[in-house]
Symmetry: C2
Subunit: 241 residues, 2 copies
């Protein structure tokens, strides 16, 4: 979520190579240069691709125009950081795309990039498997990757650009809870990053493990609140009690 | 929804052959023999297939064991009605499946069948494109066909076998509202059928059009209730206000 007040990024940690081969890998990665930049990525899709892409943007790639090698720690703007991820996705495709295709493995990766370079605007991007990318705007202040459908209705109804960071965190967790309940390929623990606008060094990171007291309390309160909300709606007059 | 108290069936009316070719067709069909049986179907997928299937079960198909021609109005049990729909799906596949395949059109159809024959149990089935079918049980008192993901979390959290018919209707409408907001291929008006257990002749049918006062009120109240529900959840202690 890209809000007026800052950024909320939430990811699960489950990867699978079939129902009987499930592992735990963090999908949230932070890139921090104290006082200068704070960026973070979330990834979905093929783990080999996303790990390769994140290695490339840290090792560096030549700028297609200047030829200078740039990394995610040195690019001058968030737009250039998104373009660097795009370059990296295309490089991984050139390296592995054909061999994967021959084995009927789809080249499936989605990357979310959020962050701020000191003195510049906080921005949020979504980079697709083809390397093209979009940016979150005021009309749609949140982006989703991976299994997005179960968790979308709540975000649609409740998230606007002026949602507070605390409400944003609660809504992100509620949305993820809906997804956790419905798709076994999404699993705890969760990784959360909360970044307040213009606070390069003040980012909050939180891992939420199975049985986390706050998450459990939130689930219970949310269910209670929903029950109250639908019970309170009067019945239609075309239906006799 | 198959509840202790009865049956709630809700469908939209949008069919499309591409974004630029949208039409309105009811997907809810009732089969009523006064005093004797009340059944209803909901369909999703290819409209040509589902119309052909519904024609076949009304015109009649020979029972594979006895050779007697049966229709949805004459089959002795709900199980036989589901089997008749299954036979009809397979017959349509034999007639059109190969030609559709040659044109890269997938044989995509899902049918929900609910109802009761007087003196017997109220039952709910889901018939797949291959003709196989499942039945709703106490553990999972609702079934969905078509675009099911957006509307599922609310049903998962709130619907149990002892949910009342009125709450069931509200929850079905709330679930559909989430789907309407997120998928343009789902559209108003909605068709709703409410059947109280052992009331063969007392079924309630309601069409809910764009701008329907009850539906609009429900949307507003639901949004208000959700906002209250998440606002009321206390913030996590690892996040300063």
């Amino acid at each position: 979520m890209l809000l007026d007040k800052g950024l909320v990024m939430l990811g699960d940690t489950r990867t699978n190579a079939g129902f009987d081969n499930i592992s735990c890998f963090s999908k949230l990665q932070k890139f921090h240069v104290p006082g200068e930049r704070l960026m973070a990525t979330l990834t979905a899709g093929n783990l080999a691709i996303s790990q390769a892409v994140l290695n490339l943007v840290q090792d560096g790639l030549p700028d297609p125009e200047t030829g200078n090698v740039e990394t995610i720690y040195t690019v001058p703007t968030m737009f250039r950081a998104a373009a660097l991820l795009s370059e990296a996705v295309r490089k991984v495709h050139r390296t592995h795309g054909e061999a994967m295709k021959q084995q009927d493995v789809s080249f499936d990766v989605s990357i979310m990039l959020g962050g701020q370079i000191a003195g510049r605007t906080l921005r949020l991007f979504h980079i697709y498997a083809a390397g093209n990318f979009i940016e979150a705007t005021a009309d749609t202040p949140y982006l989703q990757i991976g299994e997005h459908k179960y968790g979308k209705p709540m975000l649609d109804r409740a998230v606007t650009r002026d949602t507070s960071l605390i409400e944003g965190v609660k809504l992100a967790l509620i949305s993820m809870d809906s997804t956790l309940r419905s798709n076994l390929s999404v699993g705890m623990p969760l990784d959360l990053l909360v970044y307040q606008n213009d606070s390069i060094d003040g980012v909050v990171e939180q891992r939420i493990n199975e049985g986390d007291k706050y998450f459990e309390m939130m689930r219970t309160e949310w269910s209670k609140g929903l029950t109250e909300a639908h019970t309170r709606i009067p019945p239609p007059d075309w239906l006799s009690p």
